[in-house]
């Protein structure tokens, strides 16, 4: 079992954004922050970014690649992909349910 994104505690939200960012390929820290801001509007600070990265690396959801000078890219692992799919699936279920109920209430 790869676990759940909720295992990250207060880093659950940032963790989901980071996994989503890494879903299209490896990125280093600053590139993750920029990407997250672009697709979600969330400005992530470095302390939070690395708090989440350390926890996800420990759980084997992401893995570091060889450093490029001082920058070290990270990539999604199979376990990380499973966690991301599971979380997005349950969020999708919530979105669909909410939309259906709003539509029913409006009709």
């Amino acid at each position: 079992m790869p676990g759940s994104i909720n295992d990250l505690g207060r880093f659950s939200g940032p963790g989901l954004l980071i996994l989503s960012s890494l879903a299209d390929g490896p990125k280093h820290g600053y590139a993750i922050m920029m990407d997250v801001q672009e697709f979600s509007g969330t400005k992530m600070e470095p302390g939070t970014l690395y708090g989440a990265l350390t926890r996800m690396e420990q759980r084997g959801w992401i893995e570091p690649l060889p450093p490029e000078e001082r920058r070290r890219p990270y990539r999604l692992t199979t376990a990380g992909e499973a966690v991301l799919r599971q979380q997005l699936g349950s969020m999708n279920q919530i979105v669909q349910t909410g939309q259906q109920r709003l539509a029913a209430a409006g009709a």
């Binding site: 280093h28 922050m33 470095p46 302390g47 690395y50 070290r72």
Partner: protein, 290 residues
């Protein structure tokens, strides 16, 4: 102050792994107050994380044992201090304290020493308690959680016992007082044992152990000050009003000199035990390297 200097306050193991990367990110990042706050909070998180700071060596474990011993000595000291409080509570001695400088100086030395020792134990113990609670919750360690709740539970039981006794009668008889004091002493021993076991079973990092080491030194010095104060107070009282020691003003209406001697003996043992523990504990340089 450059924001990257905050990274110095992260644990060494974290810095070895992530400092270069985060420095690179910070150089490109638009720094705000939120960035400073976020990095400080991250430093606390990293220090509370045993993966980065829990790997203390044999010297660290020796230091932890010394700190447990000093904590237990402090608890014994507090119990003895309550006996001292009983000796000082009648109005005659309060008057003598005003009239005779030695008695007053001794009394205030006891108070100052007790307050400083308590503050030192709290300052050194709170970070350790936070780490124990965090590890207990994170790893669902019921044994640690159970040990942590022993002191507050016994305190509540003690207060409830006293409240029930007072409610049933406006004055508490000597049998009840004996029971209450016996329960208090047993509760103090059980609480000290539970906290000591919890500390022994938790991964602590060198930063909190180093802080607790300084707190232990201050607490030991403060206990020594209190002990000196008790002796000065007793010698002063014996000179000014020798008959006071022959009265039944001690704990459980015992003779005051009996209670006084017990208080001095327990406090002296506590101070000696703390000094021995400090003497045998490794120095900061040794345990940081160990």
């Amino acid at each position: 102050m450059q924001i990257a200097t905050l990274l110095r306050y992260y644990p060494p193991a974290w810095r070895a792994r992530y400092e270069d990367e985060v420095t690179d990110v910070l150089e490109q990042h638009r720094v705000s107050y939120a960035t400073w706050f976020d990095l400080v909070r991250g430093a606390f998180d990293a220090h509370l994380d045993p993966r980065f700071s829990g790997a203390v060596g044999a010297a660290g474990r020796r230091l932890r044992r010394a700190e447990i011993a000093i904590f237990c000595a402090f608890i014994a000291f507090v119990v003895a201090g309550i006996g001292f409080q009983k000796l000082t509570e009648d109005a005659d001695k309060a008057g003598l304290m005003q009239a005779h400088a030695a008695i007053g100086i001794g009394y205030y030395a006891v108070i100052v020493g007790a307050v400083v020792a308590l503050l030192a134990v709290v300052a050194g113990g709170l970070p350790i308690a936070a780490i124990i609670a965090r590890q207990a919750l994170a790893a669902s360690r019921r044994d640690l959680l159970a040990m942590l709740v022993v002191p507050p539970l016994l305190f509540v039981a003690l207060v409830a016992w006293g409240a029930v006794d007072l409610r049933s009668s406006s004055t508490i008889d000597s049998a009840s007082i004996r029971g209450l004091i016996g329960f208090f002493v047993l509760a103090a021993i059980a609480s000290a044992a539970a906290v000591s076991l919890a500390v022994a079973r938790t991964d602590l990092n060198d930063v909190v152990l180093g802080l607790a080491r300084w707190a232990s030194i201050i607490a030991t010095a403060a206990m020594g000050l209190s002990l000196a104060g008790v002796v000065v107070w007793g010698v002063g009282l014996h000179s000014a009003a020798p008959s006071s020691f022959a009265l039944d003003g001690g704990v459980l209406t015992s003779y005051a000199y009996v209670t006084f001697l017990r208080v001095v003996i327990v406090m002296a043992l506590a101070v000696v035990a703390s000094l021995v523990a400090l003497w045998r504990a490794p120095g900061r340089d040794v345990f940081m390297a160990g």
